[in-house]
Amino acid sequence: MRDLIRRLTWLDVVLLAVVAAAVAWVGLRIQGTLNYEWRWEIIPNYLLRFDEQNGRWVANLLLQGLVTTVRIALYASVLALALGVMIGIGRTVKNLTVRMLARTYVELLRNIPPVVVIFIFFFFLSEQLIVAFNIEGWARGIAQGDSAGAWTFLFGDMRLFPSMISGVVVLALFESAFVGEIVRAGIESVGRGQREAAGSLGLSRVDELRFVVLPQATRRVLPPLANQFISLVKDSSIISLISVQELTYKTVELVSSTRAIFEAWITTALLYFVLCFCLSLLFRRLERQGRTEMRA
């Protein structure tokens, strides 16, 4: 901290002063025109609430939403990764049909706004599939079964399972196009010479991919994949539009019941920020570690 202060130049001081003045000025203007009564004190209660009946603390709206967001992000990213790897490989194989199919998928998803994509997936795919596979009935059965505890830990309230699954599927399909592009770039970054060397040893195409191309691609692909995962966490707020009860959805709920618009949205913004920022710090650290290990 001392170091930081010593390193400040007069330019930094001026810049900071200008920013502070601007913020103060905007704040004052809003105070004047905006007739708003701040009620920050109600927010903590919507994170954690004391349950009188059971006599213990339980998660309330915002924290419930956050937990759902984390769950959905985890499952969706696993699914997106699996799909994305297939699409990425599909875009680099020799077979023209496979390549065209993979390309079409990617181009469609990249050139249609996410909200539209999500509605289309939701109404045409997940809603129908959920009915077709009778996932509702299945989830209800689980909720009454013996292992209900474990399922609830993994997926939250089982009554919301169908909605959560469609959220996961929709998000994964959407993100898989981007993962696919990252994977393709990774595969293509492995030079032609590597493939030719593998080929001239007589390795089959599958072995060439498995032992030569993919291991090298993986190392190059991890940093952009980590970024994509953070994007996925942020993008997950879109699925509130299809009534998946994640953080954004819960915030809308909170706002409509308490009218604490600013407090609620600022809190939610903070929650997202902390989550994503921690992730990016974590990934950066892992990346640095990975690099030093590679050198050793």
Binding site: A197, S200, L201, G202, L203, Q216
Partner: protein
């Protein structure tokens, strides 16, 4: 080489890249144990010819037979030929994520289906042969260029091929490392291996070549024993080329 069995037969091969003709009616017969050195100006199709022999490139027309196997588009002949033909590249093309030993054992284990211990033993034998037994556990990036190229040669030899192709194996090397690679190649030539080398190292060519081939503009212009080739090349283009590279 009279009386020996032909091991590579190239008959009237053409190769087009789009409109551009990189090989023009090339025919060449190489016998078992023969050492052929190919030279010629840049862009004359030397690499392309070499790459047709192990099917890294598909000829547009003509016939190619390697070790009795006629090269068609079929996958199994392709792999059979590639296991019998080793290739050493100008840029080494070692697998950077694998150690030297793993580079050497991958092919034998996955293609020849021999056990890890047998593959390791074989790898050590060929590392010895290229004079770097002590580098087995290192990664390619930790080696000098000359050492990397020798690992690449050993990697090909581990497949125990009947034919070795070299595409300018020393032209990406610093001058002081060229000889360590050439020495290994001379030793290999002495062991009776069939070799096809694209190189401009004329000292090496004089020492080992049974046949010199000169290519220009996709054609084989001259093909003769080194004595005749160096003392009285029959074509003007070949003479000019030799004058240019033998000057220095």
């Amino acid at each position: 080489m009279a009386g020996r069995r032909p091991i590579i037969e190239i008959r009237n091969v053409d190769k087009y890249f789009g409109e551009f003709q990189a090989l023009n009616d090339v025919s060449l017969t190489i016998h078992a144990g023969e050492r052929v050195v190919i030279c010629g100006p840049s862009g004359s199709g030397k690499s392309t010819l070499l790459r047709c022999i192990n099917r890294l490139e598909e000829p547009s027309a003509g016939r190619l037979t390697v070790d009795g196997i006629e090269l068609t588009g079929a996958k199994d002949t392709l792999r059979r030929v590639r296991t019998e033909v080793g290739m050493v590249f100008q840029q080494f093309n070692l697998f950077p994520h694998l150690t030297v030993l793993e580079n050497l054992t991958l092919g034998p284990m996955r293609v020849r289906r021999i056990s890890r211990s047998e593959a390791t033993e074989r790898a050590r034998k060929y590392l010895d042969r290229v004079h770097i037994p002590e580098q087995a556990e290192k990664y390619p990036s930790e080696l000098s260029g000359g050492q990397q190229q020798r690992v690449a040669i050993a990697r090909s030899l581990c497949m125990e091929p009947r034919i070795m192709l070299f595409d300018e194996p020393t032209s990406a090397l610093d001058p002081e490392m060229i000889n360590e690679v050439l020495d290994v190649m001379v030793e290999l030539a002495g062991s009776g291996m069939t070799m096809v080398c694209v190189t401009h190292e004329m000292g090496f060519a004089r020492k080992v070549a049974d046949t010199m081939v000169f290519m220009d503009e996709g054609e084989i212009v001259e093909s003769s024993p080194p004595d005749a080739f160096f003392s009285r090349p029959s074509s003007k283009r070949c003479r000019q080329f030799l004058d240019r590279i033998l000057e220095h």
